[in-house]
């Protein structure tokens, strides 16, 4: 049974996904309106071209439309799942364009990371921080830490590629990544207190 868009708008993401799995376009429309903005912003941040970013988002959302039933709410938030798919496809585009062999596993299920559902509350609460505050958490990192994180997450470079690029030992790159994530985690935890 199809639901009207006005009703779909009142549903949580996790409730929309089964509807999308049943091929309800109204549910999908609400889902896109809710998350299409951040998805496009992420794709654009990674690929740097509007046309390519639109292609990435279109591919990602169509894959969600066609495989929405594969979303498992026990394994992560819908938004994180969706953003993981967008990120993977954007990095795929980047690496293909640069002639680099795809490094990531592009099975969209791979972004359904194993974690207890109890973690969702924390993650969703963290997401509700304002974008400004989130940027602050990244922006306040020492440059050497934010750089390796950005090269990895937004650039799709491996730690060994980053080590060569920055001409530093691999262990240094790993250490900067770990310290950077520790600080962001600390900032977010402080924001929740």
């Amino acid at each position: 049974m199809k639901i009207r868009a006005s009703k779909a708008e009142r549903l949580a993401d996790e409730e929309l996904m089964p509807r999308i799995g049943e091929k309800d376009p109204d549910a999908f429309e609400v889902f896109y309106d809710r998350h299409g903005g951040v998805a496009f912003s992420l794709a654009y941040r990674i690929v740097g071209e509007r046309g390519a970013a639109e292609d990435v988002v279109q591919e990602a959302f169509i894959s969600i439309w066609r495989s929405g039933a594969r979303y498992d709410r026990a394994r992560g938030s819908v938004r994180s799942w969706m953003l993981g798919i967008v990120r993977n496809r954007a990095i795929d585009f980047l690496r293909s364009k640069a002639g680099r062999a795809p490094k990531l596993d592009f099975d969209d299920d791979a972004v359904l990371e194993h974690r207890p559902s109890a973690e969702l509350t924390d993650a969703e609460a963290l997401r509700r921080e304002t974008t400004h505050e989130l940027r602050g958490a990244l922006g306040e990192l020492p440059g050497e830490q934010s750089k390796v994180i950005e090269l990895a997450y937004f650039g799709g470079f491996s730690h060994s590629e980053i080590a060569k690029m920055l001409d530093v030992p691999l262990g240094t790159v790993k250490g900067r990544m770990r310290l950077g994530l520790e600080k962001i985690r600390g900032e977010l935890a402080g924001g929740l207190a």
């Binding site: 999908f28 639109e54 439309w65 790993k174």
Partner: protein, 231 residues
């Protein structure tokens, strides 16, 4: 496991979360984490720091056309999935029509591409007329068109994948005028594609061409398929 191995894997957790390990390294780490409660706990503790990274990007507005293309494709596929179980359901049920009205309104067109085909199943008793002529420029491509009232659903099969930056665009001909049917779509991985054509009244031919992403105002290439609609 020895301490050195554990320490080495633990140092990889952040890189793993950031997608910065090579596939082989990631698989090794996953095996380690599966048997190491300490690393699993550390992984989950750090994970939110990576999950917020997409939220830190500067917001950029996507074009409304992207939303339009997505919804057009989604609604087209939704219509196709409803029409899919043709062998198990009478055609008139596909569109939720009441039997009496549906039987009179529905025209089913089966198309054979790469030449010329005429079918006339007869329409005694006021049933649907199912004569069509189909021509195309892509041998092997097949098309089926189901018409219910003013709406038509065009289903294609055996399509080749499109070059990058290209989409399929549907066109309708009324009299001598050819206009966009406002249906942009791409082949599925199995070579099938579905498009919904609204406003079938007066349409004599439905065509599909390959066009640049975003579509064209007028066809810029020869039709992959043309379906002549019976009057």
């Amino acid at each position: 496991m020895n301490e050195t191995e554990h320490d080495r894997r633990r140092d990889d957790l952040a890189a793993y979360l950031l997608g910065a390990l090579e596939p082989g390294e990631a698989a090794e780490l996953e095996r380690h984490v599966a048997g190491c409660a300490e690393c699993e706990e550390e992984l989950e503790r750090l994970r939110p720091a990576v999950q917020v990274l997409p939220e830190t990007v500067e917001r950029v507005e996507a074009s409304p056309a992207l939303r339009g293309r997505l919804m057009e494709q989604v609604r087209s596929e939704a219509a196709g999935s409803q029409a899919a179980p043709a062998s198990s359901q009478p055609s008139r049920w596909r569109f939720g029509l009441r039997p009496a009205a549906g039987l009179a309104a529905l025209a089913l067109v089966v198309a054979a591409i790469g030449g010329y085909a005429i079918r006339d199943s007869g329409s005694g008793g006021g049933g649907p007329k199912t004569t069509t002529v189909v021509t195309g420029h892509s041998p092997g491509v097949t098309a089926e068109m189901v018409r219910a009232g003013e709406t038509g659903t065009l289903r294609l099969a055996n399509l080749h994948q499109l070059p990058a930056g290209k989409v399929l665009q549907a066109w309708v001909q009324r009299g001598k005028q050819v206009v966009s049917a406002k249906a942009l779509f791409v082949p599925n991985s199995d070579g099938t594609a579905t498009a919904t054509i609204d406003g079938m009244k007066g349409v004599s031919t439905v065509m599909v061409t390959a066009e640049p992403r975003g579509g064209s105002v007028q066809p810029t290439s020869a039709p992959i398929v043309s379906v002549v609609i019976p009057n």
